[in-house]
Amino acid sequence: MSPLSFDLQLLNACAALLLLLSFSMLSQRRIVNLVNLLALQGALLCAATLLVAWRTGQGHLYLSAALTLALKVIGLPLLLHRLIRRLNVYWDAEPVINTSGTMLIGLLVVVFSFGLAQPISALASTATRSTLGIAIAVILLSFLTMITRRKAMSQVVAFLSMENGLFFGAMSATYGMPMVVELGVALDVLVAMLVLGVFFFQIREQFDSLDLHHLESLKEGE
């Protein structure tokens, strides 16, 4: 009954695991674990890219897999771990909505994005089109993670995971973006990370905490 070839099944399994990782990021409150999950997400993304590259014979996908490995599995998580140690933030505060509630909203988000992806996948001709829904779900779930967190650190991790989702979406819809765009995005993420790293220190210096809640008050000394 299963008409899918083995590599496509493997790709689907990767996609499903990516979705699961997004949910575990949504529920994870320890920032160190959050960064580890991000690295794992990057590793899965790298594996999925390699699979697609091998299946379609697109040379530039190997390059972007290598880029993913270097940047998202090794580079950024190391940088984030160093930031965590230096800023001494290990736990996020209580999320805005409680965990079970966030999970339920997450489920609705997944249903929404699967519905959104269905007409697009029906028109697409790539072999990987069925995973597009998962890619959109990963993007929206990361967005939800950003919304429900208070600490700047976990919001940045969620932001990076959103970029992973975008990358995966591009791969499943069109076998990846052109190399120039990909390089540009990678550089953007790296620079954004460095700038945000500086921001963290500034925020902490101003408010003695990384809780973004403080940024909401307009007057000083409240």
């Binding site: 299963s2 099944q9 996609a15 499903a16 979705l19 079970s100 489920l107 699967f114 992806a117 069925s130």
Partner: protein, 316 residues
Amino acid sequence: MSTLGAITQLLEIVCALLAAPAFLGWVNQCRAWLQNKRAPSVLQPYYGLRKLFHKDVVLAENASSLFRLAPYIVFGTMVAAAAIIPSMGTGLPLSMAADGIALVGLLATARVFLSLAAMDVGTAFGTLGARREMMVGFLAEPALLMVLFVAAMISKTTSLPLIAEGLTTRALGLYPSLAFTAVAFTMVLLAENARIPVDNPATHLELTMIHEAMLLEYSGRHLAMMEWAAALKLFNYACIGFALFIPWGTSTEASGPQGLLLAVPVLFAKLAVAGGGLALIETLSAKLRVFRAPEFLATAFLLAVLGLLVHLLLGD
């Protein structure tokens, strides 16, 4: 309905009745080994049951007839559940009467009577246990139903024997949806059978207990029936898991008497492995606070729904 079907049916019920305490004993033995303790014999639950059957029943003064009836109802529903789960063969004449959803209903009936009986005498512990059981139950039941729905959607039927048969005949492959639901099912199994992350089966008279708190007022043959029913419940859950996720080795109508002969050792091998795995999970995890149990079960529900969604999207 054939004679082979009738024989399979009979063998399954008898086997469930006799092997359930041994399965419980096996899990306990594995757990003791893993914790570097001297293990009780596999037969220990039988000794316990024999002892209890020989003892007199002590009833609370204000116990109603419901209290005395409940052990038989709970035991009866568990036997009925064992009859419709295809643990050995799929050609079960009785399983025509009830599908997977009815099975969940049967398990719910047992839970309701257990809780009512626990509240009947009016002790604080009984009421506490019943409330907690209902809290666990109302979260575990949708998760279990979702798990069944995923399997049902893949096989396009809610009848458990047909699901098991459909899975054995289809091509081997990676099914992310089934993997998700298998994890969800394991979590439901742990919660429903009062195993460690949710309840500790080894405690008595502690404020954290759930299942034991409901049985506190029972004694003698009533308690024996209840404990036997609990062992049967664990056995049933294990067999549901086998039917949904690893149905290979069960006999079908086509495989004939040889298939049935082969199915018995296969079932015991699966039970041995599952028991070991269960003991491993219980040893590795710490008991959750009671108020964390909803979170645990919400995760199970989430995984099951994700399995369903992934199945719908990827169409595997």
